[in-house]
Structure formats: C-alpha cells, structure tokens
C-alpha cells in the first residue's frame, strides 16, 4: 500500500535523516499512514505545507527538487490537483496545542517550534532561540509537573508579526519566595529549573510567569518578528 509516509520517505531518504523524517511524520499524525489516494484535498494541502517547510528547514540545498517531487507524488490524483498546486504561503493567525507528557515530547515540541518560527519568516538565529526557549519550557513541564502543554500561536496584526508561546501545567507550582530567588540568580535546583526559566526570559521579547503552589505554572512569552528577525 502506498501510504503518504512510504511515498514521501522514498523521496526524502538520502537528503533527510531517518530520525528527522520520523519527527516529520509524527507531526502529520494519522494522515501519514493513509494511502495517498485517500487524502482529501484539505489533507493534501496540509501534508504538502508541512513537508515543504520541513524540506526547506532540513535540506535547503535540494529543497526545490524535493518539494516538487513530493508535490508530484501527492498531487497525482485528479481530485487533489488543485489543492496541491495552490501556493503554500505562510499561514498566519494559526494556533496549535502540543501535549507535553514525556521526554520524547520535548524533542517534538522543539521541532514544531522551530518550523513555526521558520514559517513565520524568522532568521536562522531567531529560530534557534525559539526552539531553545520551547525546549526549556517543555523540559520544565516534564521534570517538575509530569505533563502539561505548550501552545504556539502565530499572530500578525497592527502590533506586528509575532510568535506567542504559552507553556502550562497543573503541577506543584513554584513558591513566590523561590520565584524571587530564581530571578535574582540565587536559586539553583537539582535539575536546573532556575536556569531554564531565566534563560527563557533572556531569549524572549516578552515574558510572563504565573504560578502558585498547588495551582500549576503558566509561562507566556512572545517572540517579535521585527526584533528577532535582525
């Protein structure tokens, strides 16, 4: 059976590592295991957009060739031709929620944040900053709360283009005195909670921490395109 995964993997092998490919297919969720001809035009478009941004990210040197090969494979069915031919252009004002439940979700969240940053048009450096910040936030959730979620939202409005990140959990929360110590630089935890939060605060343009013992933790931050993109 020719599934989306097997077809695309055949094109990408040799250009993108197997590990990275797995993360790409994971991002597609159930769609990856569908036979190509059963994709709805909308699925097709989603797959195409996803694969395209991953190719640009991981195999920039051969991106043109790989993207058109993938488009050919995905767009061979007459029903999907229009969707596949549509220009993928960056989608704005889109939001996605990433569940964070274990160590493997940290890497997935990082990758997701990175591609979102690239899609938004952030520079290479800014995209690494975004991925690093999300990595810190995801780690804190896994280490201290066990599980939670990270919301990524790309926004373009009168105030400019930006990426909003919200990491939320219902874990033990952080004591106010400890929060103060963390940002004063005098607190050091076993596994680096303090350092992680301070690092995130330094990387982002806007940082807000909302936490109370027993009530969970919520970190909201913003990357602005204008500043980070330089």
């Amino acid at each position: 059976m020719k599934t989306v995964e097997s077809e695309i993997a055949a094109i990408l092998s040799g250009s993108i590592s197997a590990i990275t490919q797995r993360s790409i297919f994971r991002r597609l969720g159930g769609i990856a295991s569908l036979p190509v001809q059963r994709l709805s035009p909308r699925d097709r478009q989603a797959v195409q957009a996803e694969i395209e941004s991953s190719i640009r990210l991981f195999a920039p040197a051969r991106s043109g060739e790989l993207i058109s090969s993938c488009a050919r494979v995905l767009g061979d069915e007459p029903s999907g031709r229009d969707a596949a031919a549509a220009p993928p252009g960056p989608e704005l004002d889109r939001a996605r929620k990433l569940p964070i439940e274990g160590e493997r979700d940290i890497a997935a969240a990082r990758l997701e944040a990175w591609s979102e940053a690239v899609r938004l048009g952030l520079s290479k450096f800014a995209s690494v900053k975004v991925a690093t910040a999300v990595s810190e936030l995801a780690r804190n959730i896994v280490f201290y709360a066990g599980k939670g979620s990270i919301d990524l939202r790309t926004v373009r409005d009168g105030k400019g283009t930006r990426l909003e990140i919200v990491a939320a959990d219902e874990g033990p929360g952080i004591d106010p005195a400890k929060v103060e110590a963390i940002f004063a630089g005098s607190f050091k935890s076993e596994r680096g909670l303090g350092k992680g939060l301070v690092a995130v605060q330094k990387l982002v343009d806007d940082f807000h921490l909302d936490t109370r013992p027993g009530r969970g933790t919520r970190v909201s931050c913003v990357f602005k395109h204008d500043r980070s993109g330089q």
């Binding site: 890497a107 690494v128 690093t132 990595s135 330094k202 990387l203």
Partner: protein, 120 residues
C-alpha cells in the same frame, strides 16, 4: 528500545571522540558520563572530545550535562574539548547567559586533536 540506545564513542589516537547526535535524555546522559569515565580510567585517555556539530539546539539542561561530563573527565586528569558548535547555538548560549565553562572549546576536531597533541 531506549535502553539499547547509546551515544557512539570512537577512539582516535589517545583520545575518545563522542559524537553527540541523539536527544540526550536523562538516562542516556548518565550512561554516557559513566562509560566515558570508565574508559578514560582504563585506557589512560589523554582527552575526550565532544562533537556537537549536528546538535541544533543546546538548552540549559544539555549545557549542564556537557559541563558535568567535562568536570568528571577533568577530575581524572584528562582534557575535555567541545568542538563544532554551530554559530546560532553559540549566540543563543551567550544570550541565555549560560556558561559552558567546564569544557575547553576548539573550532573542529582537527584543532582539538592538535591541541591535545601539543600537550603531550
């Protein structure tokens, strides 16, 4: 499956080269540290070189792991070099204000080996 995972360690001259590629989760990091210490001790290794050229993101947790490895290797009298750090990663580390001060750095593998040789 996670239990089988290992970070590859290659012996080059009198040094151990570690190619840091996979996601260093807790267990893997501890395993790596233990294996390195044991091998430095049993093989009289002069230096350990951590190659991070394929690592796209280094956060404060990975920094701590690398620092811990550096410290333990140094305690045994060997040198620990980190090579191949990507420019965007280096800039991000500076901006975050985290220090990678328990490992020496060199531009690439060649440079690290040359410095370790000079010390002989």
């Amino acid at each position: 499956m996670q239990g089988q995972q290992q970070v590859p360690i290659i012996k080059i001259r009198n040094c151990l080269l570690v190619s840091v590629q996979t996601e260093l989760h807790d267990r893997l990091a501890l395993d790596l540290q233990e294996t390195l210490i044991a091998r430095v001790r049993s093989e009289g290794t002069r230096g350990v070189i951590l190659d991070v050229s394929t690592v796209e993101v280094i956060d404060s947790y990975i920094t701590r792991i690398l620092n811990d490895i550096g410290k333990s290797v140094r305690l045994l009298g060997a040198d620990c070099y980190m090579v191949g750090i990507r420019p965007a990663v280096a800039m991000t580390l500076i901006e975050m204000g985290v220090e990678l001060d328990s490992v020496s750095t060199a531009l690439n593998l060649d440079a690290a080996l040359a410095r370790l040789d000079l010390r002989a």
